[in-house]
Amino acid sequence: MTEQRANVYDINEYRQLPAGEGAADLRDNDQLDLRKSRLMSPEAARALLLTHQAYAETGVEKPLALIVAEYALACGVNIGQVRSDKLDSQESKAA
């Protein structure tokens, strides 16, 4: 059985959107480290991380688009990780 890789992001801070209109109740996750993203370009990851930090420092409410972008990226990275794990575990079993 494949061991969990260390850089699967903990996204349990993200809350489900409420039905209908209204602001999204999504919160950023302190453990989200975009620098660990292996497939996103370093420049794009840095840009997102800097924006994330800037909003955290100023206390200004982050635009929903940015929140959703970060969340979508976290999900994408995590899914990519588990896919790789799955493929790697198949290779190791076959070996």
């Binding site: 059985m1 969990q4 890789r5 699967v8 992001y9 903990d10 996204i11 349990n12 993200y14 489900q16 959107l17 209109e21 999204a24 999504l26 993203s37 497939l39 996103m40 794009a44 840009a47 997102l48 924006t51 635009p63 929903l64 688009a65 940015l66 959703v68 972008a69 969340y71 979508a72 990226l73 999900c75 994408g76 990275v77 995590n78 899914i79 990519g80 990780q81 588990v82 896919r83 794990d85 799955k86 493929l87 198949q90 076959a94």
Partner: protein, 143 residues
């Protein structure tokens, strides 16, 4: 056609050309799966997130890579002509860029943004649990 779109369509159809649409063969549980087959399994979950699929229609929704989500719709008109559209949602620094059929680009907002966020959340949680047997919150193997 862009390489990314070609790759996305080959994930959907299993073919290098967009002109042939093959239905994936049944995936045997013990068979070694390719990345494409894993994505096809994920898309089986993704396509159901948006409600029933009309008869004769085909829909796919899946995560192609960490910053790209694909929505594909296909249908036949009364004359049997196949109509299809591919929408790519790409994560960028400013938000999520929507590219339709490789031609129209815009950052999504409002209800579409909320709907996509919800779809991604549902996709993520169900794919992690059902396909990879992982806790979506921690990534750990489910007991």
């Amino acid at each position: 056609m862009s390489n990314l779109l070609t790759k996305a369509l080959s994930m959907i159809t299993g073919a290098e050309t967009v002109l042939s649409f093959s239905i994936p063969k049944k995936i045997r549980p013990l068979k070694k799966l390719t990345e494409r087959e894993l994505i096809q399994l994920e898309s089986e979950i993704g396509r159901e997130l948006f409600g029933p699929i009309p008869k004769g229609h085909r829909r796919e929704f899946f995560n192609l890579d960490p910053k790209t989500w694909i929505w594909y719709e296909e249908s036949k008109d009364a004359s049997g002509l196949v109509h299809s559209s591919t929408t790519r949602y790409e994560v960028q620094e400013k938000g999520i860029l929507k590219a339709q059929d490789g031609a129209q680009y815009s950052y999504i907002e409002g209800q579409e943004l909320r709907n996509l966020s919800l779809a991604i959340q549902m996709y993520y949680e169900q794919v992690m649990r059902q396909i990879y047997k992982r806790d979506p919150k921690t990534g750990h193997q489910l007991a």
